[in-house]
């Protein structure tokens, strides 16, 4: 009996230990998770333990970190190495989990943490050559020894923080997923920059375009996907003439055919709304005579926020702005002499080559009618709780063969190789560090030369009163049409033939109109002497912004704030009256008539209380779906024409064959679609109303900021009252929008305002985790504390001092 009881209680003990110490599916190990000494209760704090950091390895002098009331650190160091070491330490202190998670995602290593659900994602990252690109970038960075030292200091700062942690101190997400942080490396910084490159320059439609071309032919293609829309208000104003470039040369269009093939099972593209606004006015258009600059990058709305705000100062420089956790220096910001910002300069810098392999071994491929050797990279994908998955990725001189028989259902001997500017290896990190300390236009111009991808519209203003905009990236000098569709991997004339000389990248300094701006629209007009193409350019925000700056003589900071928060829907203004006019009202029931009345009386502003905005947005989605039903239903992946061209066709080609709805026996025209889509939109709104009540735009859109782990509801913020939408200057859609709004006036010292939808702390247990969100949604800003020196501590909550190890 005694033995029996003994064994039974032993078994129970083992069982409960195992049960509480093990992760089951998404349920964390509950004993570890809930115990108050090392579990989540240790994360229940609003300021992380700001231990006295008296022993920071490698520091040469003490560094003071003054935290203001928004928990923004103002870092004062005696030299660059100490500064970046402190930046690494402080960033890790507030954002460790995110820092690591983003680079894991970039490298295709999520399966190690979350298990086999992430295999397809991880394989995609490896096959896109994310690590390949990061390694190339790292080589490039190593060419500048001083940069390497700075990045090593940054790395060591992060690692000093990591090694100071016990499991009790780990950020919440480690406890939730039950794993531990690993040391930071320089390669991880390169991977973080690749993560941004992929987000901003990882999209292309070449293969979808090829599918479309094969099915519908060139004439249809050119109508639906024109190089230029019939309106164009480009980044570089049309007044710019390019004669300063002298003679330029571009390769001739080669003879020979391009391959025409259906390719499907394509990897997902980055979010189509990844983009931004920026603008700056020069002294003559500024209320005070000081240049004023603004920027708002539009990205997925996540927690922890992609941005972390900081001031970084040494005796030689003093810079404020937002950083990307994982990269040294400020990414978007200002110092006493200059301010700068970026928007995405989308351009087709990713091309695809059809590869013919000699045999199943894939050891050789055809190029210039000769068999050339491939190289192979065996990707090891660790999977939590399972055996490692091995994936062989074949590389040609073009780049990685992303799609082949082992990944998609290709023919055995055919592959599709990627040539991508993201693989070229750039030194974006050097650009950032040089910008941080730049004092004038010349230093800004020099800083940009290192920047390869993702190409950006670098906007600039200075205390000297200069404003400028450079479209900077490394752009292949293409023959007209090169890379719009699938290219022939055998034909050497299809290879990239060279690059546009950096000094010929489109740019403008102090234009006559007195302002510069960009909003992901076409970089130039047709007079620019190089071939420029992208799978669609934004066509609305740019016009609203530029019209605003043409509308009056002088602008002040309030004007800038108003423009950030401008909800004017130009797209609706250009289509809605036409739709209403061509609608057969006799066919509507009373409820639909009421909705038509509401949308007809709407003023085209996507404000939160406007029902008209909801009706329009629903109507637009439905009409778009109806026009392009042929593309959605196609068995191959097909591209969608951009909004501008869709509207152009609805207005100008109302009887186009695409207006027909496949499922119905009748042949529909644009007017029929206006009616049908309106009825559908009305039904959508009715059912929404039945479920949720009021359909005012704010409630209907219900913007949220989601935690990086699939927007776990517990750690996310929902139903934020904010207007706008994609294509509007306030580009806030449901889960995407302005991720950092900044306004800087180059007074002495600069006056600045900024806000982002998140908070400085990455800890969901902190009151600083999401404390900017309500302000951001309301269109408010933090007045930036830009400390000139340490003599005044006004606005400082507390100070953390890092002192060297003795």
């Amino acid at each position: 009996m005694k033995q029996f009881k003994f064994i039974l209680s032993l078994l129970f003990s083992v069982a409960i230990f195992y049960g509480l110490n093990t992760k089951f599916g998404s349920i964390p190990p509950i004993g570890k998770f809930l115990n108050p000494y090392t579990g989540i209760w240790q994360n229940e704090r609003s300021t992380e333990d700001f231990k006295d950091l008296s022993q920071l390895d490698g520091l040469t002098s003490p560094v003071n970190v003054h935290y203001d009331e928004a928990l923004i650190p103002h870092v004062f160091a005696q030299n660059d190495l100490d500064l970046y070491r402190a930046q690494g330490y402080i960033t890790a202190q507030h954002r460790l989990w995110q820092l690591e998670f983003q680079t894991r995602a970039s490298a295709g290593r999520l399966s190690e943490v979350v298990g086999s659900d992430a295999i397809r994602f991880d394989r995609g990252q490896r096959r896109k050559g994310m690590v390949f690109g990061a390694e190339n970038a790292l080589e490039k960075m190593k060419e500048i020894p001083e940069l390497v030292k700075n990045l090593e200091a940054y790395r060591d700062g992060i690692n000093s923080y990591i090694s100071s942690l016990s499991p009790a101190d780990y950020p919440l997400e480690y406890k939730l997923l039950d794993y531990s942080p690993e040391p930071w490396t320089l390669k991880k910084t390169a991977l973080l920059l690749m993560y941004m490159t992929d987000m901003l320059a990882g999209g292309d439609s070449d293969l979808k375009y090829t599918n479309f071309l094969k099915k519908y032919g060139k004439e249809r293609f050119d109508l639906f996907f024109p190089d230029f829309y019939d309106v164009n208000d480009p980044v570089i104003p049309s007044e710019r003439d390019w004669s300063d470039f002298g003679e330029v040369s571009s390769p001739d269009i080669p003879g020979g055919d391009s391959p025409i093939a259906y390719v499907s099972g394509l990897l997902p593209k980055p979010h189509p709304d990844n983009g931004s606004n920026n603008w700056a006015v020069g002294p003559e258009k500024s209320y005070s005579g000081n240049a004023i600059l603004a920027n708002d990058p539009h990205l997925g709305l996540n927690l922890p926020s992609i941005w972390y705000a900081m001031q970084l100062a040494t005796p030689e420089k003093n810079t404020f702005g937002v950083t990307l956790p994982g990269a040294a220096g400020i990414v978007i910001g200002f110092n006493n002499d200059i301010s700068w910002g970026v928007t995405n300069a989308t351009r087709d810098v990713k091309d695809w080559y059809k590869i013919q392999f000699k045999d199943k071994s894939r050891n050789e491929y055809l190029h210039n009618d000769q068999w050339k050797a491939t190289t192979k990279k065996i990707e090891e994908i660790g999977i939590r709780g399972e055996k490692t998955f091995y994936d062989t990725v074949v590389y040609t001189h073009h780049g990685p063969v992303t799609y082949d028989a082992s990944f998609t259902d290709n023919e055995e001997l055919v592959g599709y190789a990627m040539k991508w500017a993201g693989h070229l290896g750039g030194n974006n990190q050097q650009t950032l560090l040089e910008l941080n300390k730049a004092k004038n236009y010349e230093e800004y111009e020099a800083a940009l030369t290192h920047f390869v991808a993702p190409a950006q519209n670098f906007i600039f203003s200075s205390a000297d009163g200069d404003i400028a905009l450079w479209i900077q990236g490394k752009f292949p000098n293409k023959w007209e049409g090169q890379g719009k569709f699938l290219l022939d991997g055998n034909n050497p004339a299809h290879d990239w033939q060279g690059f546009i000389p950096q000094e010929h990248n489109a740019h403008v300094k102090n234009p006559e109109r007195g302002f510069v701006s960009s909003a992901n629209q076409h970089p130039t007009d047709e007079s620019y002497p190089y071939y420029v193409f992208n799978d669609g350019y934004e066509a609305y925000r740019n016009r609203v912004i530029n019209d605003f700056f043409r509308s009056k003589e002088k602008f002040d900071i309030q004007d800038f704030k108003d423009l950030h928060n401008n909800n004017y829907n130009l797209k609706a203004a250009e289509l809605l009256p036409h739709m209403i006019q061509n609608l057969d009202i006799a066919q509507l029931n009373p409820e639909e008539e009421m909705l038509l009345g509401e949308v007809g009386a709407w003023d085209y502003y996507n404000e939160i209380d406007k029902k008209g905005a909801t009706i329009w947005e629903r109507w637009w989605i439905q009409i778009r779906n109806m026009v392009w039903d042929e593309l959605a239903k196609d068995e191959n992946d097909m591209p969608y024409p951009f909004a501008y061209q869709t509207i152009y066709l609805l207005k100008n080609n109302p009887n186009d064959k695409f207006m027909d709805i496949l499922e119905t026996p009748e042949i529909e025209t644009a007017s029929d679609l206006f009616l049908l889509s309106f009825k559908k939109a009305a039904a959508d709104i009715k059912s929404w109303k039945d479920r949720n009540g009021d359909y005012a735009w704010g409630e209907y859109k219900s913007t949220y900021v989601g935690h990086l782990l699939q927007a776990l509801p517990a750690l996310s913020r929902f139903n934020l009252p904010i207007g706008g939408n994609s294509g509007i200057v306030n580009a806030t859609s449901q889960n995407h929008g302005p991720s950092w709004r900044m306004i800087v006036e180059m007074s002495d010292p600069p006056k600045a305002f900024g806000i982002y939808p998140g908070g400085q702390s990455g800890n969901p247990g902190s009151k600083y985790y999401d404390d900017f969100i309500d302000k951001w949604a309301a269109g408010e800003y933090l007045e930036i504390l830009f400390m000139q020196d340490e003599s005044s501590k006004d606005g400082i909550m507390f100070t953390q001092t890092l002192t060297p190890k003795q």
Binding site: N35, P36, W41, Q42, E44, P167
Partner: protein
């Protein structure tokens, strides 16, 4: 009654000490040892260490969480899911610790019973 109290206090003291050094199962170890040292009969062999650790974890979790306005507790109580009720999460925390300790305490008692013949 006296052994109740001694077991309760011993479990608590050992748990306090071990928790500083060991992972979450420190409380199982504490309950096991005090069960092996202070003999308890029948249900109390489970209930006393259960209560000791439940109280311990509840009080400590409460102290940590109330100092921060229960910000995180309310979120975790959505995640688990406990309807966002922080108090419920604190109770669950106590019960989880208590269960582990209670069972370890029982096991401690049985060990003692098995190895110390003189007791019976």
């Amino acid at each position: 009654m006296k052994s109740f109290l001694s077991n309760f206090l011993l479990t608590l003291v050992l748990a306090l000490v071990f928790s500083l050094l060991l992972p979450w199962w420190s409380i199982m170890l504490a309950a096991f040892l005090s069960g092996a040292i202070v003999r308890l009969r029948k249900a109390s062999a489970f209930v006393v260490p259960f209560l000791a650790i439940a109280v311990f974890w509840i009080v400590y979790a409460w102290l940590l969480s109330s100092a921060n306005d229960f910000i995180l507790a309310e979120k975790i109580a959505v995640l688990l899911p406990l309807g966002g009720n922080a108090v419920l999460l604190i109770l669950v925390t106590g019960i989880v610790g208590g269960l582990a300790a209670g069972i370890a305490g029982l096991f401690g008692n049985q060990c003692r019973a098995l190895f110390s013949q003189s007791d019976q």
